[in-house]
Amino acid sequence: MKTMKHAEAAAQFISDEPRTDWHNETLWFVRQKRDKASHGLPEWEQLREWASQIKHHSLSHLDQYLVEFEKNAKANGVTVHWAANGEEHNRIVYDIIQKNNVQRIVKSKSMLTEECGMNEFLHSKGIDIVDTDLGERIVQFRNEPPSHIVLPAIHLKKKDVSDTFHEHLHTEKGNNDPQYLTEAARIHLREKFIASELAITGVNFAIAETGGFVVCTNEGNADMGTHCAKIHIACMGFEKIIPKAEHLSVFLRLLARSATGQPITTYSSHFQKPREGQQMHIVIVDNGRSKQLGRADFRNSLKCIRCAACFNTCPVYRRSGGHSYHTAVAGPIGSILSPNLDMRANADLPFASTLCGSCSNVCPVKIDIHDQLWKWRQVLVAEGYVDTTKKVGLKGMAFLLAHPSLYRFAGKAGRTVMRLFPWLVNNKLNPWYKQREMPAPPKESFREWYLKNKQS
């Protein structure tokens, strides 16, 4: 199946305008909650600066901290695995499953496992994972990927959820009450938790100094899974490392406030050692991260703490939906991470932005997201991943604008046919004209007026 480019998928999303408005409003509401929470702390901007600096420091000592983390985690009785890429990650998880001969597996939210396509891989091996975050369970039933890293089912309305639950959990048809539907999921998933043999989680922060790691949820699903199952596998991208436990204070103050406007997530669980009789595994994954680390212009993207504030504020994301980004991590941050993984497949994403800069200014770790979008555009053009019509038009334009007399000639001829600006052609095929009128051509340009009125 060919994936649609962002612009095309976005147009499809917007064709249902009331739904687009709802999506936009709902996420804007989350952004407003974030604003309120951040304005409640006078030190907000200082906190962002600290967070950014701690992450910068961590990246600049990453090899040391990874080794330190590994050593301490092992001393805590945790088994540490390393995976160069998604495939290897999936293989490691599969081997643990095989070796322990387990069938009942639950998973709390982990964007890394999405990135690695773990569920699909295990499914192909005949192993089914139960996603336990409510939003993820909903999209899993529907065979869809999550559309948002914090709110996986934000593209769905309660009626959609009701229909899905009616089909899979036999809830009352037409009962759209979120309370009722959540209760049904609670009962369904409690059975899964209690029966589970193996629990997979992501990692929000890994602490070099202690070898411990922190997982944040509101629902409590990570804890329900890990404390029930006799095996816990925590999967982490290697950039999750921070030096010391005290640095968690900075990140935990920022994370939930940025994500949903809550002062902290309901549960910030600090895993240190397996409980008696339990196996605990950590899989440390590279999957392109070391390459991104080497790209000076883009390495800042590895500071990301996956709060999704940049999604909620993005005027394009809010109006195009997460699926239009066709990658595990959508939104502005996805658009600067994904080209690193596959330039060809994701060449459209850095262009799915007006470069308005809102993302960079909400980001709790001060990633220069919109500047990186701009820089990716340069890289993608230089590497030849931009389609030729765009190329011809813009190169022609560049030529024209470098030559004043040609520009003036084109301008004169062009004000009637608007030939100067390749996109301002007055016909039905012109995307400008589809829903917008052309500027009315004036009888003279500013320069012509100036020559007449000022130069004599």
Partner: protein
């Protein structure tokens, strides 16, 4: 083993030039005139309830009454009487029937209404999550202003597990409508003693 070496090598080669850690200056951090009031306000705003008490008699009575009524309640607070040690060894299936768990937390955090629980205070890691309702006791003087202060007081690496717990389990995954009681406890009452 090769992935480990490859990754470490690539990271060493590609990492940026060393930069220092920032100094977290706590004088730049918010302070509250009344820590208890702040804690209570925030906890209520996130779906929990906070009760100030002067002694433990009401809580003891409640516990006794529940027990007498045959409810499955688990006490892990020494000051309230006998600890339910059996619960620490129970299977998830058995624990799923727990109606109320009584726990003593190490401290409370005014800025976000959370409490810190060490594994030893839970008795069983699963207990604070799987029970239907949670009652947590903290000492009034244990409330600190912010997370910076909290991490000064706790040692998150000391035990096998620990958690900052703030309010009851919740979700807004269906159309952003807030529902309390997703997978974990449906309610949280924090008793502030002192």
């Amino acid at each position: 083993m090769s992935a480990r070496e490859d990754i470490l090598k690539a990271v060493a080669a590609n990492k940026p030039e060393a930069v220092d850690l920032p100094v977290i200056d706590q004088t730049q951090v918010i302070s509250y005139a009344n820590l208890t009031e702040q804690f209570k306000t925030v906890l209520q705003s996130i779906g929990g309830s906070a009760v100030e008490i002067n002694d433990l008699s009401d809580l003891k009575n409640e516990l006794e009454e529940k027990k007498a009524a045959g409810e499955f309640v688990v006490n892990r607070i020494t000051e309230l009487g006998e600890l339910n040690d059996a619960a620490t060894k129970m299977s998830p299936e058995e624990l799923a029937a727990v109606e109320i768990t009584y726990l003593k937390a190490e401290l409370g955090v005014a800025e976000n209404g959370s409490v810190w629980l060490y594994e030893s205070q839970m008795g069983n890691r699963l207990l604070p999550f799987i029970c239907q309702h949670l009652a947590i006791l903290i000492n009034k003087e244990s409330i600190v202003a912010t997370m910076h202060h909290a991490y000064e007081k706790i040692d998150s690496g000391r035990e096998g597990f620990g958690v900052f717990l703030a309010g009851p389990s919740k979700t807004a995954d269906i159309e952003q409508s807030l529902v309390i009681g997703a997978h974990g406890a449906r309610s949280l009452r924090v008793f502030i003693n002192g």
